[in-house]
Symmetry: C2
Subunit: 159 residues, 2 copies
DNA sequence: AAAATGTATGTAATAAAGTAACAAGTCAAC
DNA sequence: GTTGACTTGTTACTTTATTACATACATTTT
């Protein structure tokens, strides 16, 4: 499995994600407005999750909006359409790193040392979770799976 | 698998949990002070997660503390010793329903209709998650697994 | 092109959640 | 009965998030 923990061409990675967003917008008739697009770009700059107010500060510095709702609305839009994810543990947001065709939400790996947040496909895990819920008569609709730990680079570097 | 979604003697369920807490405190030399004990009792009254401020309001009504730190400290104590859990999706807390011998954190099933939060053992899921992380060189230390959906009773009742 | 409609943004105000810092009290051990 | 560790009280504040309403922009209808 390949994650963004590995060395990669980050510029290309961000560019691709933006292109995917544009394709999605075109395909689904969504409006990737300047604010929304800029928020996605800001999230794509780093592989760590940003708080809504960090995003807002950036927007404010560029004259794109000074009040919380501006940031929250754009972030909500991105999350709703799968272009970004909310990391519950951090009350923060990160750009989506892979395209998740259907409603296949990923698992997040959060490095507590470098703050990098990586996504991994977790189809199997989700199936198991649904099965587990099913045993209790519970119908799983959405699931949050977040792992906190240390990435290879940080584990190696700190050794 | 049996969860608190099923009919059960709630009084007994709460009483047992409290007894477990006392045993734990005795065994580990922890101080289950009046505030801490009362917070646990409050959480045990319902099988839904309570926000820190809901707990605080209850404490205040009983003269046990009026400021946020009082509630947060007690909640942190309970969480730290496995007597309660924090539900990330809800920014809320729920009493532990099973004793988790070691550091075996459970999975949470959150009914979006009746707000009940049930725990299930997820040893297998956690192992799979660790393995998945391992594939990316990531060492998982702690994991949050929360499922949002509908419990059997609500699905049946609403049908 | 003007009116009507739907959607997005701007703004103010406030709510909700969480923390820092320090003073004061409690309790067990010596 | 004083020391030291832990717990609680209190003030003040920070961070995160939402409500409500006004304004602007875009699209379709006429």
């Amino acid at each position: 499995m390949t994650t963004i923990f590995e060395r990669h061409d980050h510029g290309a990675c961000a560019k691709e994600a933006l292109a995917r967003a544009e394709d999605l917008a075109a395909a689904q008739g969504l409006r990737l407005t300047p604010v929304r697009r800029r928020v996605l770009e800001i999230l794509l700059e780093q592989h760590r999750a940003l708080g809504a107010y960090e995003v807002l500060d950036r927007l404010a510095a560029e004259g794109l909006g000074k009040q919380p709702p501006v940031a929250y609305r754009a972030l909500d839009f991105l999350v709703e359409h799968g272009l970004a994810h909310r990391i519950q543990r951090l009350n923060a947001f990160t750009a989506c790193q892979h395209s998740h065709p259907e409603g296949v939400a990923p698992v997040f790996l959060i490095c507590r040392s470098c703050q990098t947040v990586a996504e991994m496909d977790a189809t199997g895990l989700r199936r198991d979770l649904s099965r587990l819920g099913g045993e209790a008569g519970f119908s799983v609709e959405r699931a949050t799976i977040e792992a906190l730990g240390v990435c290879a680079a940080c584990a190696g570097g700190a050794a």
